[in-house]
């Protein structure tokens, strides 16, 4: 009988969904942080919190990409 691995399909769906939304969300927050920092600089001030947060978000995205490359290589 045809044996479909629904569990595998389900986990592919779940993992893809979470990973995509998480990476895109983090990346957008990072851009948002940089944008705030930019606006602050334009007014002569700084926004250290926004900037640090942005870098943290980008770092997590880089980690996700690195993990992706690791999966390809391994």
């Amino acid at each position: 009988m045809i044996d479909i691995d629904w569990a595998a399909l389900g986990s592919v769906f779940g993992v893809s969904l979470v990973a995509t939304v998480a990476v895109v969300g983090l990346f957008t927050l990072g851009i948002l942080g940089l944008s705030k920092q930019e606006a602050a600089t334009a007014q002569g001030g700084t926004a250290p919190l926004a900037r640090t947060g942005a870098y943290a978000c980008f770092a997590l995205c880089v980690a996700a990409v690195a993990y992706g490359i690791f999966l390809i290589v391994a």
Binding site: I2, L9, T20, V23, G25, T28, G30, L34, S35, I72
Partner: protein, 447 residues
């Protein structure tokens, strides 16, 4: 490699040609959105994708070792069966490229293998259940999974990012798109270049050159990597245009969401044991992100043509492969006839493509309105394709002409399949013609 016979050499060259068409066909998966949103210049995008495909080809040989495993029974598979399978897959790839539709190269290859195997040893050589689980279910699941993920991601990024300043937004999404497109290219190189390595290795094993269970030799890895990279670099601009502009209109946010979803689905599926086609995932992701923007639309007529092409991939490639196998097993002249037929068909498709050139210069020209305005041209390209293929079908293979005529009758299945395909999907040709026809006509109008 000293015992390689002529047949084996033909099989290897054909496998590399398939690899080339695979790269050519699938550039769109990684780069269509990056090009259409302007994140990278077209030439730079395909160059980057080509390099990453090449790198990917060297990263691992796991896929190559499991190619075709379970789908057809490998014992007793003959080199000419592989040749016939490749002929079916190549012609389907080129035909879908001609009409600018993304379709899975892997499915074309599987269809070819199935058709050739059935023609060779009968239906008993095929595992029906595996066809459903490895081909049909994934074909439905991939665009849904990638599409839903891209849809939600696009919604999220629009919502979170609505206060983002223009400058950092443009810069950020550009970088994000390039990174995720790079990841897709790399994954494609590891997956698809290896399929060709697997096929060549299978042929070498079948020809008795390699022991069963061998790893692909280095020259196989190098040549397969080069072939897919070259194909990627030349870029299937017609498909890039359909995917980047034809299915929906993408902004950088959507392009980023689509590519990230495609990369996540491809990586998740190849690591969690439920393999999904790259092409199907990417097309689904593009459509999902298209719907994820307020007021975003998907051009369902183009999408429907694409789905029809997906549905036809397996039977069409299989039918051609079965006919090719039938001719090829008649002996040396049969193999020669198949080889000549392949070359002539490729040349014909290429000449037809020159009538309306799509390249890096006009890849981003939209063709939406032209699709409706193109009614008079509607029937014409289909007729041209059909007659051109019909015209080249009897290959001028010399002496055995009379005998061959009988065989060609069997092979006439092929143009039939082509006709069916062309008439099903023909409206896409005027869709491409609108923008490019005027400038392109004088150059290569006469086939």
């Amino acid at each position: 490699m000293e015992h390689i016979t002529l047949l084996l050499a033909i099989v290897i060259v054909t496998a590399l040609v398939f690899d080339f068409t695979n790269g050519f066909h699938d550039t769109a998966n990684a780069m269509a959105t990056t090009i259409s949103t302007g994140a990278m210049k077209p030439k730079a995008a395909v160059a980057m994708s080509a390099v990453l495909n090449l790198v990917g080809a060297f990263l691992s040989v796991e896929v190559a070792k499991t190619i075709s495993k379970g789908l057809v029974r490998e014992e007793g598979i003959q080199p000419e069966v592989i040749l016939a399978a490749l002929v079916g897959a190549i012609l389907w790839n080129l035909l879908t490229w001609l009409i600018g539709l993304p379709s899975s190269s892997s499915h074309a290859l599987m269809g070819g293998l199935l058709g050739a195997t059935i023609a060779s040893i009968g239906v008993s050589g095929v595992n029906g259940g595996v066809v459903v689980t490895k081909v049909l279910i994934p074909a439905v699941a991939a665009p849904l999974v990638a599409g839903i993920a891209a849809f939600l991601a696009a919604r999220l990024t629009y919502k979170l990012g609505k206060n983002v300043g223009e400058k950092s937004g443009a810069k950020g999404y550009k970088a994000g798109q390039i990174a995720s497109a790079g990841l897709v290219s790399l994954a494609h190189g590891t997956n698809d270049a290896q399929k060709t390595m697997g096929i060549i290795t299978l042929a070498l094993v079948a020809g008795g050159v390699l022991a069963p269970g061998s790893n692909p030799p280095v020259w196989v890895i190098v040549s397969a990597g080069m072939a897919i990279a070259l194909g990627t670099y030349l870029g299937g601009w017609r498909i890039i245009r359909t995917m980047g502009k034809g299915l929906t209109d993408l902004q950088p946010q959507q392009g980023f969401a689509a590519q990230t979803s495609a990369a996540a689905v491809i990586l998740a599926s190849s690591n969690l044991g439920f393999s999904l086609s790259t092409t199907h995932s990417c097309s689904g992701a593009v459509m999902g992100s298209g719907l994820g923007r307020k007021g975003g639309v998907v051009r369902w007529s183009t999408a429907t043509r694409m789905f029809v092409a997906w549905g036809l991939t397996l039977p069409a490639a299989g039918l051609v492969a079965a006919a090719a196998e039938f001719v090829a097993r008649q002996g040396d002249w049969g193999i020669a006839a198949v080889a000549v037929f392949l070359v002539a068909s490729c040349a014909a498709i290429w000449f037809i493509s020159r009538r309306q050139v799509v390249d890096h210069n006009n890849v981003n020209e939209t063709d939406g309105p032209a699709a409706d305005a193109g009614t008079p041209a509607d029937t014409e390209p289909a007729g041209v394709v059909t007659t051109a293929i019909a015209a080249v079908t009897p290959p001028p293979a010399g002496s055995a002409a009379a005998e061959e005529a009988a065989e060609e009758a069997a092979e006439a299945v092929e143009p039939d399949a082509a006709t069916a395909v062309t008439s099903d999907v023909k409206p896409s040709i005027p869709a491409q013609s609108g923008a490019a026809a005027d400038s392109a006509r004088p150059a290569g109008a006469n086939v």
